[in-house]
Symmetry: C2
Subunit: 312 residues, 2 copies
């Protein structure tokens, strides 16, 4: 058993269904298999090529062609699709869920899930949205791995009045596959993630675009001298375009507000540079150093120089 995964003596549920076995979905399936999380694992995808690959990789016991078939008799259904696709998948499965089934997801935005998916589900079904804060820059069924969630945080955002037992089951699912669990409102989640994930992605995508568009500096120069800092940003800026388009379209208010704060701060920094205020720069650069130390101490980052990166 890989470190951090918790092997179960008895399965948490009989049938666990993952819709969308990409990076996150296939990692859940691999971890579920390794821990004995469910008696039967089921997965499906809108794309036949992904279903085919899921079968080749034996990611699940059953890989039916449609989500309607997949969710029949399911105890837990986890939607691992881009946030913009959640409502339409929920519409497809709503009539095929058994009473008492739990529907969850892994989307990076949570308010819109409750708003859009909630009203489409029958009263007899429990909606318990979640968001595991974990991933890599790669996508698809081949990119997942069983330990992706170990020592990462999964945030559960139960809607008001959600069933306590259903919430506990989703928490147990994440803990079994190695994650720490935190509860918060969807609204607070969307603001926290706007600053710790969405705006960082936005500025990474943006700086890579700005560099590519300069006419006096060649693409080859940008690439050659990327080890000066730029290349770090390209990792985040190579994340899945569909997923990230949907994140920004569905967390508009929080992203624009946090970006506004980022812009205020960068304007102040630009002013400090223009007026040679070295002390202001030094003060900020010292403060930010301490924050990384905390992240390393709390086990969310490696202390190895340069991320422990090997030469390319």
């Amino acid at each position: 058993m890989a470190e951090g995964l918790k092997r179960r003596e008895t399965p948490l549920v009989d049938r666990l269904v993952v819709i969308g076995p990409g990076l996150i979905g296939s990692s859940i399936l691999r971890a579920a298999r390794a821990t004995g999380l469910a008696h039967t694992l089921v997965t499906t995808d809108a794309h036949s090529g992904v279903r085919e690959r899921a079968r080749e990789l034996s990611l699940a016991d059953e890989v039916p062609d449609t989500s309607a078939e997949a969710v029949a008799g399911a105890d837990i259904v986890i939607l691992c699709v881009p946030v913009g696709a959640i409502a339409s998948v929920v519409a497809e499965i709503a009539d095929h869920l058994k009473p008492g089934a739990i529907v969850s997801d892994v989307g990076s935005v949570k308010g819109c899930v409750v708003e859009k998916a909630g009203p489409l589900l029958p009263k007899s079904v429990h909606l318990v949205p979640a968001h595991p804060v974990a991933g890599t820059e790669y996508s698809g069924p081949d990119s997942g791995f069983a330990t992706l969630f170990v020592n990462r945080w999964s945030i559960i955002t139960p809607p008001e009045g959600a069933d306590a037992e259903a919430i506990a089951k989703i928490a147990a699912l994440w803990e079994t596959i190695g994650a720490n669990v935190e509860f918060m409102s969807a609204h607070h989640h969307d603001r926290v993630l706007a600053i710790t994930s969405h705006v960082p992605h936005l500025i990474a995508y943006n700086i890579v675009g700005t560099a590519a568009d300069l006419e006096e500096i060649t693409q080859s120069e940008v690439i050659k001298f990327s080890a000066g800092g730029f290349r770090d940003f390209t990792r985040i800026a190579s994340s899945d375009p569909t997923m990230w388009r949907d994140v920004f379209l569905n967390n508009k208010d929080a992203v624009l507000e946090m970006l506004g704060r980022f812009n205020e701060d960068i304007a102040a920094l630009a002013r400090a540079i223009r007026w040679s205020d070295g002390d202001a720069l030094f003060e900020l650069f010292t403060r930010t150093r301490a924050i990384r130390r905390n992240i390393i101490e709390l086990g969310q980052e490696t202390a190895e120089p340069d991320f422990g990166r090997k030469k390319g």
Copy 2:
């Protein structure tokens, strides 16, 4: 011999002096030792603690207390101090250099080196500024290693009329310790590095500061959920504060201009988000993905997911 370092049959020079054996300086010394670059290695530092550590680590054959002593009889002197300290070190050593000595540096800004240091040197001494685009987020004599420059680029920016033999010697020095060499004007260097290194550092420092200052989101939340993207930025934002303060103060014009372009682009992105222009977002996010692929293909980055990072 570690891969990429080129063992010399005969030393390139008799006496090589590194002033400031920090991350970069101590890496040069280690690589010089490993390749037989010079007959005698000399280092010194303004801080007695650093000199002491250099002696304990046997980074050089001689560790005199002052730069004036250190440069006596030197063939090549490399200044590995923050850009803001270069002029005062040059003033200290100018009268102690032998005719024909070559003075170089490793500063991240090049225009200011020529402007400030050039006039202080005797005519008989050659100034050949250089900038190895390599490093980690750590500083000090203990953080260096011999292969730091392997497969990285070192940019040489010879002033007009610089001695061809002196330029060739500095190029040979970098090639011996594994770097690729590129020549350009100091002016062009400062603009290329503004976009591939200086502005990326500025926005990394800035986003870490913005996140730390939010009142509604706790430091603990920022740390816990940093794996969503934020933690990548903290690596760069933990780089040496003195070095980076000096970079911004000495490359003001190029940094402010490139930052202006970054700001224009981010304003356009914010507008695309506000008006739900998903196609514009998708187009950028697809384009940026291709740039990372190029950086990986050209050996400037690892293809391993998440930089090959181990769990913290």
